[in-house]
Amino acid sequence: MSATPEELKERIEAGIPGAVAEVTGDGHHFNAVVSAPAFNGLTRIAQHRLVYDVFGAEVGDRIHALSIHTKTAEAEEIR
């Protein structure tokens, strides 16, 4: 059964305390923009790992590709 953006959003928000996620995708490739206070003080690598950890081995398998953009709760997006 393919995954839905709604499912990913719910699981990210349930899995990371205080997280707010916006997820788009087609059932295989997803984009997630996630902000969470838990990201404060973490490297990008560590922030992304928190998100990947929500899905474990499903990433690369049932969830074929998951693009992640993380923001700390107060950080301005760098453009």
Binding site: R44, I45, H48, A57, V59, G60, I68, R79
Partner: protein, 132 residues
């Protein structure tokens, strides 16, 4: 996770990471990337004139398995600089846009570097299989 018994493939991957200051594990090759994320990451590195080793993980599924076990990172591509995982396509793209990537790579002038040798001339893509 798998056990700690002798694991030549994982050792070879670790060795490749240790021996190459900039190394990209990707799907396909820099000349013929087999995935959009790998292609984008290669294009970014090339636009900075970065020299990098590249490993195609597709020939043997165990390469990806062992790499992800070692890096604790589930997706491909994976860019390592000085033995440290920098990230995949998303992080590399973000760092490129913010200018951090050039800094991480030790490149002062992003893009159109002066006397960069012809791309590909002395990049030495290696294949893990050859090391076993």
């Amino acid at each position: 996770m798998s056990d700690q018994a002798a694991n030549p493939l994982r050792d070879a991957i670790q060795e490749a990471i240790d021996e190459n200051p900039v190394i990209l594990f990707m799907k396909g090759t820099p000349e013929a990337p087999a995935c959009g994320f790998s292609a984008r990451t290669v294009a970014i590195l090339q636009s900075l004139g970065a020299r990098f080793a590249a490993v195609d993980i597709l020939p043997d599924p165990r390469i990806r398995q062992e790499l992800s076990a070692l890096s604790e990172w589930p997706t491909i591509p994976q860019l390592f600089v000085d033995g440290e995982l920098v990230g995949g396509c998303d992080i590399v793209s973000e760092m490129y846009q913010s200018g951090e990537l050039a800094h991480t790579l030790g490149i002062d002038a992003p893009a159109h570097a002066d006397e960069t040798p012809a791309p590909g001339s002395d990049q030495a893509p290696l294949t893990i299989e050859n090391r076993l």
